[in-house]
Amino acid sequence: MSESDKIVLKQSADELSVDTPGHSCYLEQIRTLVCAHTRKIGFPEDEVAKIEIAVDEVCSNIIQHAYAAGAKWCWPDRPPEIRMNLRVEQNQLIIAINHHGASFDYAACCPESIDVRLQERHANGYGIFIIWKFMDEVGYTSSDTTGNTIRLIKHLPACPPPPAAEIAARAYELYVQRGRRDGHAWDDWLQAQAELTQRSGIRLPLTEESGRALIEAHPCQ
């Protein structure tokens, strides 16, 4: 079995799941898939590069520390694995990276700055800062039944939530259009929000066919 055969890939229009052995020789494949998928979703190249590095840092930490010999794994009988899922939900890219090595709470360990480490020219200790710096949210869960999951969230490009004032103004227009009849405030608000969100240019994920074509046309190089 070749190394590539050990990668389990499931891809749909808006979701990508990748399972690999927990070994550093798979980092390149993981990064390539993450780059292709985030480009497909519509992230600009600068953001693709940031997501790529954040995912690489998480996976490197898992391989280096969580699966280290002597570490207390959740499921010690299974070989090291990294299970990653990328999906779009409510204008966010959610990347869940699951493993069953030793637990470590990334979300509770958020260095505010690496300035001091840089000034003192330390050679390590930058990985978690990079994860936090390049992602919008970082979460962590751990249990004996599900293993450890690091959850990285990045807001989708070109679709920040419409300003509340604009939603309110559009909702008022809808209220006027319906003859100023009360009792529909919530419906007007949701419709206004939907219109403005659509206008702001959300890019829905592509079909699997066009996604594969994009992956082939834009390797992570």
């Binding site: 840089l118 050679a123 390590n124």
Partner: protein, 121 residues
């Protein structure tokens, strides 16, 4: 499986190293071995040409800090040139350009000359 490549040549007193591919925890040990050998010599000067560097993570960046420290301590030098804009932006946004010698890409250099106030970013 990896597209990481290293090659080196000597030009006068300078060792020129071409780095291609991604510098991660799988590939960094190869660069580390090369630089360790180079900086065993006092006053060693190494130029890393990074035209085809695709990405670099904390292990690679931390390693470059280690060798920058070592080169300075023994009167040598370590410098990165031709770093692609995509990678340079990552390095600069994290602040590593303050401690590593990294030449900015041409576009960044032009922008810093045209608008010196923006040259730190």
């Amino acid at each position: 499986m990896s597209n990481f490549r290293l090659s080196q040549e000597t030009r006068g007193a300078v060792t020129v190293v071409q780095v291609a591919g991604s510098l991660d925890m799988e590939t960094y040990p190869r660069l580390e071995d090369l630089l360790t050998a180079q900086f065993q010599q006092p006053h060693a000067t190494v130029l890393l040409k990074c035209k085809n560097l695709q990405s670099i993570g904390s292990i690679g960046l931390g390693g470059l800090i280690k060798f920058t420290n070592q080169s300075r301590a023994q009167g040598g030098n370590l410098k990165l040139v031709n770093v692609p804009e995509r990678v340079y932006k990552i390095i600069a946004s994290l602040g590593f350009t303050r401690v590593l010698q990294v030449d900015p890409p041409e576009d960044e250099a032009l922008a810093s000359i045209a608008n010196p106030r923006n040259c730190d970013e």
